[in-house]
Symmetry: C2
């Protein structure tokens, strides 16, 4: 594929399988997606990994001398290690040398670096992490946000998540008129905890989004909602639960299906169909979450990312860059910020 001109910076040292698997995913992305990948981290280690591949010219190493470890407190670590890979990678976006930053390392550090270096979009009170899950309807996805950036939320935050999520759903996922659902415990508007009750009102009155009502647990993956908003506590528990239930189910199928002689024969016959089931259900192909609400594209990958996830995260970064989703959110909130400034003067 020819070059698209997109430049993606990736923290090559971040994640359980870094740098080997991250570099492998980056090599594939540079070849298949036509993007330039900036590999940030220890040059010797990255070079050693690159030697394993027949890497093309669409890759560049940007040196960083340290890594934020998983058990470090994000802000302290970023201050102590100004040349850590996540700091350097995020700075590349700030300085206009990259269009997006991707990391599978410490997610708190990735968020903190994005907030400190790129800053919040004016008008947005709290950035949120959005994650995309497959639904029961083949080919249809749902964007859930927030999945972990804000564990305690005010109703206003959820309203902003809904606006950002709608813009994302429309321009990155290609949904013409995204249906927004509020994650809740009942369909009726009188249902919910304090946060949900007050958020419901704000969502119902917001003219920018299409609010389709409450989404109960059973409705989230039904395909009737394109965007589901909730606080980062609920979203994080849900996301990790969904991933685990998927693997648990595959596990049951793997255990029970080949039992007995008939089982062994049947599984052999069904090999291809079983592979398709795994692909529809497995979450490894989904690259991670997008941090929405900062001035730049920032992808937060799974800590357990291997090459396919790193590739998926870079593909997601490319889609976000090309759809100009950040600029669209900035434009949406520019008006409200200007109005607020005008009313103060």
């Amino acid at each position: 594929m020819g070059s698209t001109g997109d430049r993606i910076a990736i923290d090559a040292m971040g994640g359980d399988y870094a740098p080997e698997e991250i570099v492998a995913g980056a090599v594939r992305a540079s070849e298949e997606l036509g993007v330039k990948v900036l590999l940030v981290g220890d040059p010797h280690k990255i070079e050693a990994c690159l030697k394993e591949h027949n890497a093309g010219s669409n890759l560049e190493i940007v040196p960083a001398d340290s890594v934020v470890e998983m058990d470090e407190e994000p802000l302290t670590a970023l201050r102590r290690k100004p040349n850590s890979s996540i700091n350097v990678a995020t700075n590349l976006v700030k300085e206009g040398r990259a269009d997006a930053v991707v990391s599978a390392g410490h997610s708190g550090a990735s968020m903190a670096a994005a907030l400190l270096r790129l800053g919040r979009i004016p008008g947005i009170e709290r950035p949120a992490i959005g994650a995309v899950l497959p639904t029961q309807v083949n080919g249809k996805q749902v964007l859930i946000l927030d999945v972990g950036a804000n564990v305690d939320c005010r109703p206003k935050f959820l309203e902003q998540f809904a606006v950002m999520g709608s813009i994302y759903s429309q321009h990155v996922l290609g949904v013409e008129r995204p249906n927004v659902g509020l994650v809740n415990i009942g369909e009726e508007e009188c249902k919910g905890n304090e946060l949900a009750l007050r958020a419901h009102q704000l969502l119902a009155e917001n003219p920018v989004i299409h609010f389709a009502g409450n989404a109960e647990g059973r409705d989230i993956l039904s395909g009737q909602f394109d965007v589901a908003v909730c606080d980062g506590f609920v979203g994080n528990v849900l996301l990790k639960f969904a991933e685990a239930v998927g693997s648990a189910m595959l596990q049951v199928v793997k255990e029970e299906l080949p039992k007995g002689t008939r089982g062994k024969i049947g599984v052999t016959v069904l090999k291809h169909n079983l592979k398709r089931i795994k692909q529809r259900v497995d979450h490894a192909e989904h690259g991670g979450g997008l941090l929405l609400g900062v001035n730049g594209v920032c992808i937060i990958g799974h800590g357990s990312s291997r090459a396919p996830s790193a590739f998926g995260a870079i593909r997601l970064a490319k889609a976000a860059v090309e759809s100009r989703v950040i600029e669209r959110i900035q434009a949406q909130y520019q008006q409200s910020v200007q109005q607020a400034v005008a009313s103060e003067n």
Copy 2:
């Protein structure tokens, strides 16, 4: 099976498929479980259903002249309809004419009736609904509570859920030393929202339970926890989500597996193994939740209960009665109530 002497009152009019499916489940329970079932509701309708079955003598009809509808406000409805089926059924427990009450109707009304008629166990601040889910480990279950009784919780409530859940796990589910997990967004004790952070401390210091730390979304069904505590908002979303993910996965398997000629052959060969997968994954067999913290056994079934779920709910009621779980919770809290009274004098 011979009679066990247990008497279970069931709201025959409650639920989407009442009274037909409820009566069918009750007839089966009276035969297979050796319990006496008191069918509460419209005598004519119940009799008509009973004629469909070859019902034995272990069934009795208790008349009630109305039903709380799904869209009614619980407290108002219970006041307006003192002879509604849920009120009459709960009263049977209060008056000692039944050992447990089961309903698949309006769950808010069932809870309100239990609170008003049976009352809270002294020392318990908020009753909670516990639901049992299968885990990845075959034969091992996890009790999640609260799944909907309390949408906004204080840390102390979660601590009491953990104590009640441990007693339930030990005596009803037969777990010798139940591992309690706090549903949270990370393993470390510094992780969580305000509620989780404060609940963590209380759980860690409680001498009655065995606290095994935070349970992330991915850990809830791993089999490492026997009891998982959370507020009723998170629990309700999780429970309904789990049920939906299970069906969604079965749906994918059903769609993809028979594709093509090889698919059709394979599915025929694997018929029995597929049935076993459905049984391990399907939630229809699990009868519902137990309301823990009131002075009596009260089972809250699914609104969509059919005969197998009604049967499952009665079986659960029987297990709760025979394990004396309510008396054990009462005894656990009696001491603390006495201490509180003593310190006041």
